[in-house]
Amino acid sequence: MKILQKALGIILILFFSNTNIVLSMDHIPTDDEINNISKDLYCPVCENIPLDACGTQACIQWRNTIGQLLSEGWSPDEIKTHFATQYGIQVLSEPPKTGFHALLWLLPLACLLTGLFILIKTFSSKKPSEHEHPSENKRHTNLNDYHINQIEKDLQQWK
């Protein structure tokens, strides 16, 4: 019985996977589907322009290839990996997050955490003194009374 169930399962899997292949072979990808993948790819020649926005002949050719691969049933990830294998990881809009390239993501985070740590240290080491009270817009100035009076006088004249 179990063998029968397994066999039926395998037949069903094969049936549906075959159906998928047949369906995908028939599927003509839309421009939007192609662009969805293209916007995450950069051709090595064009300068910092994603594939979906680039009008060069090479990029048009790449988009055609994406269309072709989609029609053959490739998934977007498989297509991106294919281009990365063929032309190097520079074609991807972001490098992998593993190995050396993890540094790209970790360093800004580390810097931010360091900044936070310094801030916390700064705040925790500066306790408010006893004479400080909560006050709204308490003005502090390094001008002495003479200067303040002088400013007031000038302001009066100016008015």
Binding site: D31, E94, P95, L107, C111, E136
Partner: protein
């Protein structure tokens, strides 16, 4: 003849910068006033000479002197006159000359101020600013000379130089190559000058800061003197970034305004440190704190200005902005290294003199919030800087070329921008020195409740994107808090005077321009944020090939393809233009005409979008491709960009706010005079 006038005045300006530095140093030794006057006059003479040099180049550009290499490279006969003038900054050598001229203008204006009370610092200000100027003029004279002539020898070999090579005659091509088509846009008249004015403007506060460090001045004089300079530089830099965004939106044809391109980031980085500096100096002025930090910020800003110029012009990184690249990279690198290390050494030398007088009492204080604000700006800067140089790091250490695209920047900076937005809402309500959560809660509960109405309304309309709801709530909160600040201030004034509310509001802003100008800038930022949230989170796009009278649907719009025409132009372009009728909910709205320009001489194509704009959204249409007329099919790419126009509205408000904050105020001048006299 004109070529030599331009060249000789450039040469003389170089000599004058050297003399100006020499005379300033002589004044430090002798203390004879004649030397500092002479140095100052010489700095003004540099401006006169560079003006003549720039005018000569403009004359050559506008009169088709194709025997000049630069003219032949960036202009041609068919270009309209205004573009021939803008070609001054359309190539490497011309833009360097223009850059030097702008810097000399800033320096000349600075020299015209009354220096009576700042004699100790003046020679150092001159030295630092003139050294920077000298570097740029030197690049123009010895590496990127815009006055080089084209020569042809007996073997018909064409070369370029100022002096005639042996057995050569001047070669005048029949026509020039012409400006890069990407730069043939009205936005190019104003975008680069604004950006340059922003960049070079920071040289002035930096020079004052270094001067203050050298003479070990402990007061805030340099900050008070340069406050307006900093604001002006910051305003121009902001304008440059904004106009650059508009140019990208109109010309590059990818439906956006900001692509996290290395050169865009290069201009954005000094803006980040400049913004942090503008906030941080308020604390130094009011509380005598953050003196060291402010020095670090202005040194960083200057270094990033030079670094940004280096990135743009060296070609070390790939960018869509690579219009002006050459071999000046190594020299820039040396200059950045020298200026940055010298600045740091001076900072270390004066470290003890910059001791903060008052301690930070609590994180729950205005200065505490400003410090967090500064940390966030630095966090964004770090992410941007690291992302920009990482391709080089990767190539050096792994040999792998990589691309750091928008996903990295959006993920690393997005949360920090959101936190900044939140701070913008809270900080104005927190008192100096020390406040309490209870007090803050009392002030913020009303704006918070009002601001929650927006996300609630959006949820009722079916918006479920949590990030979008949170971001829009934050923007609304800042908007409400800022308006509440205006309301509170005007009400308090009204209660203590006989003015009506509107009079009180006017007087409030007029008497506190810096504070309320700043708040208007915050309102501008809120609108810009709304625009960014709209396009980042709700943008729709579609691309389709359709036949005549077929339609493409996007959002509430339907676009029907009407016709395609091909139009040869007199200016060297061949235009293909499509017409589509726009319907909104089945009602005709207008026609739209995206086009493709083909520049015959440059063999370059430009996809020019046509946009149907409302405050609600932009319908941005591109003609991607077309089949021959007989098959009558064309491919269109259409973006629906919600709320994008709030970016430009916010930009305008931003400018108005900055102008209000920077407008001369007699009270500031009085304080400055009193400080100077003590």
């Amino acid at each position: 003849m004109i070529v030599y006038i331009g060249y000789i005045t450039l040469l003389l300006s170089f000599v004058c910068t050297i003399y100006s530095i020499f005379a300033a140093r002589k004044y430090i030794k002798t203390k004879q006033i004649k030397w500092i006057d002479s140095s100052s006059h010489s700095a003004i003479a540099v401006w006169v000479l560079l003006t003549l040099s720039c005018m000569s180049l403009v004359y050559l550009l506008t009169h088709g002197h194709f025997e000049v290499e630069y003219v032949a490279t960036v202009t041609n006969i068919t270009m309209p006159s205004y573009l021939k003038v803008t070609a001054l900054w359309g190539g490497q050598s011309g833009s360097l000359l223009f850059w030097s001229w702008l810097m000399s203008t800033y320096i000349a204006i600075t020299m015209m101020r009354n220096w009576q009370h700042e004699r100790d610092i003046q020679p150092h200000v001159i030295t630092v600013s003139m050294l920077t100027l000298m570097f740029f003029i030197m690049l123009n004279l010895f590496i990127e000379n815009p006055f080089k002539l084209l020569w042809i020898d007996s073997t018909e070999r064409i070369s370029s130089s100022i002096i005639r090579p042996p057995q050569s005659t001047v070669f005048t091509p029949e026509d020039g190559i012409g400006l890069n088509p990407l730069l043939r846009h009205p936005g190019m008249i104003i975008h680069p000058p604004m950006l340059y004015l922003g960049f070079v403007g920071f040289v002035i506060p930096y020079s004052f800061a270094i001067g203050a460090l050298i003479v070990k001045r402990q007061d805030n004089m340099w900050i008070r003197i340069t406050r307006r300079w900093t604001l002006v530089a910051w305003l121009f830099l902001s304008l440059g970034l904004l106009l650059g965004g508009r140019w990208a939106y109109d010309v590059l044809g990818w439906g956006g305004y900001w692509g996290w391109d290395p050169v865009e980031i290069a201009a954005f980085m000094p803006w980040l440190t400049g913004t942090a500096f503008l906030h941080s100096v308020i604390i130094q002025e009011k509380q005598e704190m953050f003196k060291r930090w402010n020095m670090i910020l202005i040194i960083l800003t200057y270094a990033l200005v030079i670094f940004g110029t280096f990135l743009t012009r060296s070609g070390v990184l790939s960018s869509v902005h690579s219009f002006a690249q050459s071999s000046i990279g190594p020299l820039f690198f040396v200059f950045i290294s020298l200026s940055f290390s010298t600045s740091l050494l001076l900072l270390l030398r004066g470290w003890n003199h910059l001791q903060t007088q008052k301690p930070l009492t609590s994180w729950m204080s205005r200065e505490g919030f400003f410090l967090i604000n500064n940390m966030l700006f630095m966090g964004i800067l770090t992410a941007c800087f690291w992302g920009t140089i990482y391709p080089l790091i990767s190539e050096i250490f792994t040999g792998q070329k990589i691309t750091v695209g928008p996903p990295y920047y959006e993920r690393t900076t997005g949360p920090q921008f959101a936190a900044l937005l939140l701070l913008m809402g809270i900080a104005p309500l927190v008192a100096w020195r020390i406040s309490t959560v209870k007090r803050l809660g009392y002030l913020i509960w009303r704006p918070t409740i009002i601001s929650l109405l927006i996300p609630l309304a959006l949820i009722l309309r079916g918006v479920t994107n949590l990030t979008a709801l949170l971001s829009l709530w934050l923007a609304t909160l800042v908007f409400c808090v800022t308006l509440y600040e205006f309301y509170r201030g005007a009400l308090a004034r009204q209660n203590s005077s006989e003015e009506n509310f509107m009079q009180s509001l006017w007087e409030l802003v007029e008497k506190n321009r810096r504070r309320y100008g700043g708040y208007i800038v915050h309102l501008g930022v809120v609108f810009i944020s709304i625009g960014i949230i709209g396009i980042e989170m709700f943008q729709q796009e579609t691309q389709k090939t359709i036949s005549l009278n077929e339609s493409i649907n996007i959002g509430q719009y339907s676009l029907v393809y009407k016709n395609l025409s091909e139009l040869p132009q007199n200016d060297g372009r061949f235009i293909t233009k499509a017409t589509l009728a726009i319907y909104k909910n089945d009602t005709f709205v207008t026609n739209i005409q995206p086009q493709r320009d083909y520049y015959i001489q440059n063999q370059q194509r430009m996809t020019i979008p046509d946009v149907y704009s409302t405050l609600e959204s932009d319908l941005y249409v591109l003609l991607i491709d077309w089949k021959p007329i007989d098959t009558q099919q064309a491919t269109f790419k259409i973006y629906l960009n919600p709320l994008i126009n709030w970016v430009w509205v916010g930009g305008l408000l931003f400018i108005v706010g900055t102008l209000i904050a920077a407008w001369p105020d007699k009270r500031d001048d009085i304080i400055l005079k009193l400080h100077s006299s003590t």
